[in-house]
């Protein structure tokens, strides 16, 4: 636990700074009130709106740990959302609809995993294929329109609350905790890391790298399908055209801001979750600030760059270097003055 805290300390500091910045611009940002059934306030919104990116981030962290990348998660969201809405409007009931949607996500992950692990296509290209054609599949299901439904149970997943906490928040936190525990309480985490760092050596040591890779892409598909269900449930309709559009980039950003290396290996899901919160805080902050829309991207880009620079490993090394220089000079001075 202490180690995890130490590992994600820079991310926590960054989150605090971003929250402070937003609070300066919008003083009520941290105000939370209870309206009888649920907590409300901008910060609660952030926790709720982080759900898609955070969920995607859980899967993306694992994929990136294996030195891969999954560009198709936004599209998988659209597919799963479409499946869920289609199932519920054809009268299938909540459990069946959710199961079908998750099944679709798993299938998509299986497809990606096979292309990467068995056919040997580079992850970025393999998932680019699904990214392009998957949205077509989603539109095929909805026939290009927004498939609206009115089932209150499904809608609850997107906008209901549990003990006053928005359900999407509960869902992403629970998913993150369960996956993180699964990784660290079993040997999965280490095996994934080993595969990501050196697939050949891991395979020689008996790690079933192929199956592991497929499983990881399926996990990513699973998380994406949860995100897709949340997004669909949120607006009570499946928008195959826009659901999850470009969200894969935010998810990757969350993973990196969370301190994970894009080159695979060591990973931290907690870090990614904070990364997702940082991104959503920025997004919500931009919306609350009232700046004209055309400034959104520049503000986001500048903030992201600043965060990345602050978290850069080299900067840390430079600090150490400066410190050691100072130390060395002092030592020298001491040795020269007998």
């Amino acid at each position: 636990m202490g180690q995890t805290l130490k590992r994600i300390a820079p991310q926590l500091v960054t989150l605090t700074l971003v929250v402070a910045l937003v609070t300066v611009i919008f003083p009520n940002f941290l105000a939370v009130s209870f309206d009888g059934t649920r907590f409300v306030g901008p910060a609660v919104d952030v926790l709720k709106r982080s759900a898609p990116v955070a969920l995607l981030g859980v899967g993306m962290t694992l994929v990136i740990a294996t030195r891969g990348i999954d560009l198709s998660v936004g599209t998988i969201m659209a597919i799963s959302g479409a499946v869920a809405a289609w199932a519920i409007t054809s009268g299938m009931g909540l459990p069946a609809s959710v199961a079908l949607a998750i099944g679709a996500g798993l299938m998509a992950g299986l497809w990606n995993g096979c292309l990467v692990a068995i056919v040997g296509i580079q992850p970025i290209v393999a998932t680019l294929i699904l990214m392009t054609s998957g949205r077509g599949i989603a539109q095929l299901i909805t026939e290009g329109r927004i498939l609206t439904f009115s089932d209150a149970n499904l809608a609850f997943i997107g906008s209901g609350s549990l003990l006053g906490v928005p359900f999407p928040t509960v869902l992403w936190i629970a998913t993150a905790v369960i996956v993180a525990l699964l990784m660290r309480r079993t040997a999965l985490g280490m095996l994934i890391e080993a595969t990501g760092i050196n697939r050949a050596a891991s395979a020689l040591a008996g790690v079933n790298a192929t199956v592991l890779l497929i499983a990881v892409y399926m996990a990513s598909g699973f998380c994406a399908s949860l995100a897709g269900i949340v997004a669909t449930a949120d607006i009570r309709g499946a928008d195959a055209n826009n659901a999850g559009l470009w969200l894969e980039l935010d998810a990757i950003l969350a993973v990196v801001i969370g301190g994970n290396s894009l080159l695979g290996g060591r990973f931290s899901i907690a870090g990614t979750m904070i990364g997702a919160l940082i991104i959503q805080t920025i997004n919500t902050g931009i919306m609350l600030s009232g700046f004209p829309s055309e400034y959104n991207l520049v503000i986001k880009a500048v903030l992201v760059l600043v965060i990345l620079v602050l978290q850069s490993p080299n900067l840390a090394a430079d600090w150490l270097f400066v410190k050691s220089l100072v130390k060395a000079r002092r030592a020298k001075v001491r040795s020269e003055t007998p």
Partner: protein
């Protein structure tokens, strides 16, 4: 006939495609359909392919207003008539046969005028959900709305932010509007650049414990089926129609042109009809729900 469609980014767009296909089929044309995935370069390439293929006419729903001179010139040299659908271009008008569409500024204006007459002399703080930043509907509908409320000092647009024409962003941006305007108490009306964003916003308003349509008046544009449902439930107040049937008038014009060379007028404007809760929303919903929206 070649048809270069922008893409399939919304239900309205899908309906336009469906209706164009239907119209072509009814009249016995072979439709060469090309989806440009929101990219002008794909549209230009598609038109040039149509020319290379030697189609008889080209329908073009341009993704953006500028940058068509060269390719339209090419079509003209190949003597293929081009009809613009739904959006305008700023090329010289001898490069195309005619343009069928509604006037985007006018749509915004109709919405603005409705709001102006609805609130009368009461003070009204309006929030605006804009379309995709930089897209011509977003720019023109924003402008038209401001024209519509011009001179009414009691109406003030207090916040505008892009919702990218999507329901998801419509909802989440509306949530932050509500947060920023003391839980929504200070907002009197919402103007959304399309119905989808309005529908998202309606959910946000409901979840915040307010009554959309009453506490916050809602006016939007497009007249897709779902907004009529909302109107029937009293949750939306007005919408301005943008008909997806652009192909019908386009084919009419083409047929006249082929028959005896009649040059149609350069702009065939479709109607921008205003629907309110008084206009039998449930009936309108039933009429539209199978049109491919």
């Amino acid at each position: 006939v070649g048809f270069s469609q922008i893409g399939s980014e919304s239900g309205w767009r899908a309906a336009e495609t469906t209706l164009t296909r239907q119209q072509a089929e009814e009249r016995g044309y072979t439709l060469q359909f090309s989806d440009a995935q929101q990219r002008q370069e794909n549209q230009i390439a598609a038109i040039r392919s149509f020319v290379a293929q030697g189609v008889d006419a080209i329908l073009l729903a341009p993704v953006v207003a500028t940058g068509w001179d060269a390719v339209l010139q090419e079509a003209k040299e190949a003597e293929i008539p081009v009809v613009l659908l739904d959006r305008q271009v700023d090329s010289s008008d001898d490069l195309y046969l005619t343009a069928v569409g509604s006037d985007l500024v006018h749509e915004g204006k109709v919405a603005g005028e409705w709001l102006a007459s609805e609130v009368g002399d009461n003070n009204c703080r309006v929030v605006e959900l804009q379309g995709t930043t930089g897209s011509s509907p977003a720019i023109d509908r924003a402008k038209g709305f401001r024209d519509g409320i011009a001179g009414k000092a009691n109406i003030e647009i207090v916040r505008s932010q892009t919702g990218d024409f999507t329901r998801t962003l419509g909802k989440s941006v509306m949530e932050s509007f509500l947060q920023a305007e003391s839980g929504g108490k200070d907002i009197c009306a919402l103007y959304a650049h399309n119905d989808d964003m309005a529908i998202g916003a309606i959910q946000a308003i409901k979840e915040a414990g307010l009554k959309p349509g009453q506490d916050i008046k809602i006016v939007s544009i497009d007249a897709v089926p779902d907004i009529f449902q909302a109107m029937a439930a009293g949750e939306a107040n007005a919408t301005v129609e943008l008909t997806p049937n652009m192909a019908g008038p386009a084919f009419d014009a083409l047929e006249a042109f082929w028959k005896d060379g009649t040059e149609p007028s350069k702009f065939i404007q479709t109607e921008s009809k205003l629907y309110t809760q008084a206009d039998d929303p449930s009936g309108e919903y039933e009429r539209r729900k199978d049109l491919g929206y």
